[in-house]
Symmetry: D2
Subunit: 313 residues, 4 copies
């Protein structure tokens, strides 16, 4: 085993150890019982290097609700389906607002600022749906995740999806608001049904890091050699993740971690080090912006130690 690999393993293990001991863990999302029930002490970290070496520590095989991390994959899938005309429905600028803000939608006539705020992800889901039955669209998204993670056992947590559907009034508001401007084509119930379900996909850090490898390696799975997206598109998805991946905490994440990344309220974060590796971290407690508190701390530590920041050593 090369020296680099040993270093990577050591880094991952030491950071995971430290994080598991830290008393400051943030607050677990509590707006639905299924998320509130998660063990706040859980912590998982997986890094898959360019050469395929996997460094894993902690609860790295425990599935958790990926929530908004799914938005990276639905964006990828939708770009594959409709190409750059996707950008007529969704912008790619940071919003300067919380994840569920509706203010910007009114000012900009129903066009969401970017695909990673809730409104934008709903508009992207609507493009994937485009006339099909919700069940089919959802199947396509799930199969895409299974393909990327090379694991057919990945499923949707129906209880989470049902809870979101019952209580997601703000998302219902966003979708209807966009519908009033013609930015949502399908029946709102259909689009939201698919949206709530893909947010409820359960994955482990290992599965997530595997699924994200194409973004670190020019759009191609470095092991199978299969191309997922064109090289330029991978680069651009990373750019949008960097500027918009953490709502109104995106600047802070870029400043501290220095990698494109996408977080979810389930406590997961997927981060991409172009040319170097794919990283997934999970710790359920969130900070004030709704991003995993220890997840970000671990990534900050990791990029500094490995010199993986895209902004310099």
């Amino acid at each position: 085993m090369s020296r680099t690999v040993t270093d990577l393993d050591a880094a991952v293990n030491e950071i995971a150890d430290e994080m598991r001991r830290r008393p400051d863990r943030g607050e677990v999302a509590a707006y639905i019982p299924e998320l509130a029930r998660v063990d706040p002490g859980a912590f998982g970290l997986v890094v898959i290097a360019a050469d395929g070496h996997v460094a894993a520590a902690g609860d790295c095989d425990t599935p958790f609700s990926i929530q908004s991390i799914s938005k990276v994959f639905t964006l990828t899938l939708a770009l594959g389906m409709v190409g750059d005309r996707l950008w007529r429905r969704v912008g790619r600028e940071p919003s300067g607002s919380p994840f569920n803000s509706i203010v910007q939608l009114e000012r900009e006539r129903g066009v969401p600022r970017n695909p990673f705020i809730n409104a934008g992800a709903i508009a992207v889901t609507d493009l994937i749906l485009s006339g099909h039955q919700p069940r089919e669209a959802l199947g396509e998204i799930l199969r895409f995740m299974q393909f990327l993670a090379r694991d057919a056992s990945i499923t949707i947590d129906e209880a989470v999806a049902a809870s979101e559907q019952r209580t997601g009034f703000r998302n219902i508001a966003l979708a209807n608001y966009m519908k009033s401007f013609g930015v949502v084509d399908n029946p709102v119930d259909y689009t939201l049904g698919v949206y709530f379900h893909h947010c409820a996909i359960s994955m482990s850090c290992r599965q997530l890091a595997t699924a994200g490898r194409f973004l670190a390696h020019s759009g191609r799975d470095p092991e199978t050699g299969l191309s997922v997206v064109q090289v330029e598109r991978a680069r651009r998805i990373n750019a949008v993740m960097l500027t918009c991946g953490h709502y109104d905490g995106s600047g802070e994440f870029a400043y501290r971690v220095g990698l494109p990344g996408k977080s979810g309220v389930g406590g997961g974060i997927l981060a991409v080090a172009p040319g170097r590796g794919s990283i997934a971290v999970w710790s359920p407690g969130l900070d004030a912006s709704g991003n995993s508190h220890l997840g970000r701390a671990a990534l900050e530590r990791l990029t500094k130690r490995l010199g993986w920041s895209i902004f310099g050593l």
Copy 2:
């Protein structure tokens, strides 16, 4: 001469040739006569690689008004003077608003979103001033630019500064607004005097690319070996440039160019390719967001050709 160097020269020359021929040149800033008077056909491009090789083309030695590009250097200087307590006065999140918006200041009690919108740069200038005479503070900024560019001939265009001072009502509004919240300490006239003058510094692409080298090389001038800022700080300044360097066109710049960069209404852009090189481009015509139209086009072409995007090959 290495093959890479030859490639770099070829790329720079070909891109400059193409840009000089393009009919779509954007609109030259016209709010003050001194800027309106510039030749819209001008185009300059300079890349300084890690090994010190300089590839230059076009009007690469013509000085132009660097305007907001100066904000990168005043941020660097102010961080050196007051350290991270600078961030109590200025945030580091994208604003989602135009460069001169005042709306966000009202919502967030006078604290600007980031150091690269006008309000934020005025607050940073106020920190540099901090009790000194405007003349001294301005001297310090100018000497810092001369030191970084290794060129003592760099000067301030007094006519530009005087014009801005006479007509900069919106900046006067921003400064007084922050003053009402205690975010500006010094007399508003002093702070704005320094601000308008450092925006009126004239530099050529060659000088600008030289001055920006420390950001591409871990905070250190790779030739002299002198450290300008700590490695971590250089990385972080780059991160803020990437997320906030082009106002509400920052997402678009990251998406298309994939490098940290800062533009000015004089038509210049400074871009940083960490570990690879420092780039300055100048073309006076602006796009709708106030960024150099051909400058960005040239950078998009260049990073694609050289594979210098921080988001992947």
Copy 3:
């Protein structure tokens, strides 16, 4: 017949004649086919003086969709049911925004600015519903209108209600948004069902002017002597009508007409001259703010001629 009465008749007839001849008639609301189908040339005007004399002209017995004018009556009904605790759910300040704005709701945590913008009227409808079946609540509202207008033939236009329900995405957004803050208690479908239906009540100018008499006469029907609301409450409903009754055209209406009033997109306006009379006018064409163009013009003419402005002769 007194001289005043003769004058009133003359004024009403002359103004109606003039309005029927005017070529500038505004634009008929076209967002649902049922409203678009109305004759743009229609014009009706009814004034009922304190002594019960009725001056009527034009299409004064043609029923039209009262739309937002119903909000005055649901507010009255809800105040009767829950008293001043209604004001915990709805403010009473002008919004400075269009009728269907959602921006203010985000800033003020789901509490609508006043009961006459859509969000506020939906919140009021939710209070009337409060646990009952939609059918019952709607029956109560309809019976209240029939009672006030002393006409049991008043009905709901089911085609209008069904159209609104099918296309009212923005209202669905508003209701779900408030629901997410707990400002709507009942299932959103129930509340909106009642809301869309009471907006679809059809009434003539004669019926509407009759129904509004209690507001002009200290909360009491001057003919039957029956008290509808306490004197202070009538006064206060008038105050809210004056400051908020015409969305972001409320200041203009107060400035030009000088009476409390409430308009609807069906082209009707109910206006109240305290101590003097109740006025209903109908002309389907709307101005840019969504208020009846000739309706307002007629009221401006009428109050000037009769000296009925509450702001002086």
Copy 4:
């Protein structure tokens, strides 16, 4: 003495007695020392009926800083000078925002919502100034106040004006912001100099109630018979006072008091009962919206007792 007069005297005396005993007095404005120094226990109330009878109680002859109440008189003066083209510079809709908000100015390109928020009053002052020397314009305003109050002893408190000028950063911001849109013509310093000085006029309740009489009586001083403004203009100024006279507390004032009125942070309120009388009240403690706490309470009591609300008995 008529029975009405006796009643009026009794009402004024009883209300003043009650108010002077109330322990809840609000907070005296403290942003400049000259205002902070005022006795919080002061209370004055003057009503001048249509027949000229003056009912006065408490500190009715103590001069206080009229502050924003001056905006009613500068509006009147400016309308006399430039007529209805004033409304090209200033709107007449409620703003839905605090007195010193700048947000709306950005959205609406520098045109203030109405003449009674700070920005609007500054724009009105700029129209009065229109090319003259500040000293002349100020002299004109002061002479107008002396004429209306029939008292040549009214003066400007220079210490108050100087303090405002030294610390009024937010107003300086507003004026420069409007200047950037061309809504302010004169040098900002000139316009603000006049503005700060007319806000610093000192008047007693007796002087203020006298000066406001023309608004209650169709634009004419009922005693001298002199016409100040046309009848229609008086009516319209009252309308703007009702919808906009108390910033984002205007709806509340209309709801509780039911009269057109204008408050100032010095604790004074001028209220107008069309056809009935002119009222001035003064109590320095303010509520959260910046309006006199006991002043409004006294007016609420008074209009209820006298049946003077414009919205019904």
